[in-house]
Amino acid sequence: MIVKLLSGDRPRSKMLSAVLLLILFGLLFAPFLFPGTRSLDTAARICIFIVLVASYDLLLGYTGVVSFAHTMFFGIGAYGTAIALVNMGASYSAIALGTVCGALVAGAFAFVIALFSLRVKAIFFAMMTLAVASAFLVLVSQLSGFTGGEDGLSYRIPREMTPAFKLVKEKVLGVRLNGKLITYYVVFFSSLCLFLVLLRMVNSPFGRVLQAIRENAFRAEAIGYKVVRYRSVATILSAVMAALAGSLMALWLRYTGPATTLSMDIMVDILLMVVIGGMGSMYGAVIGAVLFLLTQSYLQNLLGLLQESLGSLPIVSEVVSPERWLLWLGMLFICSIYWFPKGIVGRLRGT
């Protein structure tokens, strides 16, 4: 049953299974294990980023295509839901419509970009997506009548999903069962389903072809698979998945703006998560996202402590200042590309 749910793609390492189970249960019981708004927010972000990073891995790790437009698709999903909620009021039909439209638009965009650039070299695609995504970001920031511009959109979601709604009067296990909790579980279970769908995709015959293309595109073509077609489909699927993750983000934050969905910083974050977690394995996305987001929240505290103890040395204390956490992750990123290209998952599996 479990093997079937995982599409036969077992973790293949005791250590990895243990870590994954820990993450699963940690996220499942997050509201009870780690009470407090900030930790619940971190948990929800982890769920959403797992889907986002996994969908990026479908492209980068499985197909071997580097795209810098993933945040664009993420943003399209988020803005789809947000715009529907703003214009149609807080209703479930608005959420459904916005999510579907966002996913469709993202898929269509991905199709157009794929048409233009997948025929040529990987480098071309990377540069092209970077340019298009940046232009999209600028455009969204400027069309303030439609997207709220730099300020973004704030909106209301159905009452049952807000903290004001109480499921039970009393606290259960010291936690208020309110609408925020319901939203968290909506995010959690949607993310879980999307992740399992992605796992299904990469372990299907289609996924095998993608891996063949990654290993040797010329040979895959010679065997009779249309490489361009497979690459385009992979691009579209990953864009749709990213858009769905974006819709979840819009639902969770009740706010959508360029900085939370479209910015290049998020793109870099996703890259770091995929590579550090492990390219070419969906579990890598899980580990990468969890590690990165926890680091983002807690490495800063650690660096702060370090800085205090090193306070007297001028340059060194700058290097370990809490704001420089990205410096350390960036170095880890470069090192992992050289010395363990399969990331943490590869290490745990001992390959």
């Binding site: 980068l60 071997g64 580097v66 233009f116 650039s117 025929r119 040529v120 070299k121 990987a122 480098i123 071309f124 990377a126 540069m127 092209m128 970077l130 340019a131 298009v132 940046s134 232009a135 600028v138 455009l139 400027q142 069309l143 290049m264 870099v268 890259l271 770091l272 590579v275 340059i315 700058e318 290097v319 704001e323 420089r324 990205l326 410096l327 992750l329 960036g330 170095m331 990123f333 470069i334 590309i337 050289y338 290209p341």
Partner: protein, 342 residues
Amino acid sequence: MSDSLIKPRIERPSLSQTIEAKAPLLLVPVLMVIGLLAIGSGSTWLTLTAAGLAMGMMIFIMASGLTVIFGLMDVINFGHGAFISLGAFAGFTILGLLGGWIESPSIALNLGAVLLAVAFAMLVTGLAGYGFERLIVKPVYGQHLKQILVTMGGLVVTQQLIYVIWGPDEIVLARPAAFQGSFVVLGAAIEKYRVLAIVIGLALFVAMRLVLNRTRIGLLVRAGVQNGEMVEALGYPIEKLFLAVFMVGCALAGLGGVMWGMYQETITAHMGAEVMISVFIVVIIGGLGSIEGCFIGAMLVGLLTNYTGFLIPKLALVSTIMLMGAVLMWRPQGLYPVVKAH
């Protein structure tokens, strides 16, 4: 047997073929004319055209390094933007130290300060390029995917190092006194600094063409672009050539960074990554690896950005993307694709 049976036949390209081959050269004047028609007012057009050409020249300076590096080594350096920022910060440090020279009305002192800043910026970015090539790019020659990822990592780390050295705040610095203000030509105001940018850009383009086409080094570089293995087989140290070109490319990024910084009068660690968008568009339009294509692409992007920035401000960046799409539909490899003999 008479010899007259075998006559050498020299194929002359037909007129349409000649036009087809030279067509990219016409793009810039065509765009200028369209701009004039759309804008209507001659003096406004002149101002915008000067601004567009100046912007194009600065983008060309930054993009030329990237495109030559790609042509020669098949490496796209996604960290190129970091060198732009690094150059700007290094140059501004010198300008900051020479505050007295900048404020003085003497053109000689002003120019001296700018030249020193440029020299220092190019030195710093050239040396940084050495480190970058040895540490980050060299281990992944020939593997595109890893190259993109690792140079992106290099970009992140370099940006963070800029924060470490210069602090997290942006630096604001006025241009040297001699380059503030503008000339008035035919009723159109043309900023002095833009004229300087156009002069430097043109000089660089001419110099690059001369070096590539008239010198032994240039010959080797062009041969390396076509077939690196063959150059190596003939006994030339291609690896040293790679390294030298990489350093020169990074130094050019530094030069572009200082100029862009003085143009904006504000610099941030992110500025390089932001300009890189236009740089990538230019390189794609021109055809990866081609200096001439890069030059034409940069002029087109500069002009189009300024024209649309005046006509429909919201679409300035999007219009360049559309230009890129149009060019790619016409020539899928860019205006002047570099032919590689593999």
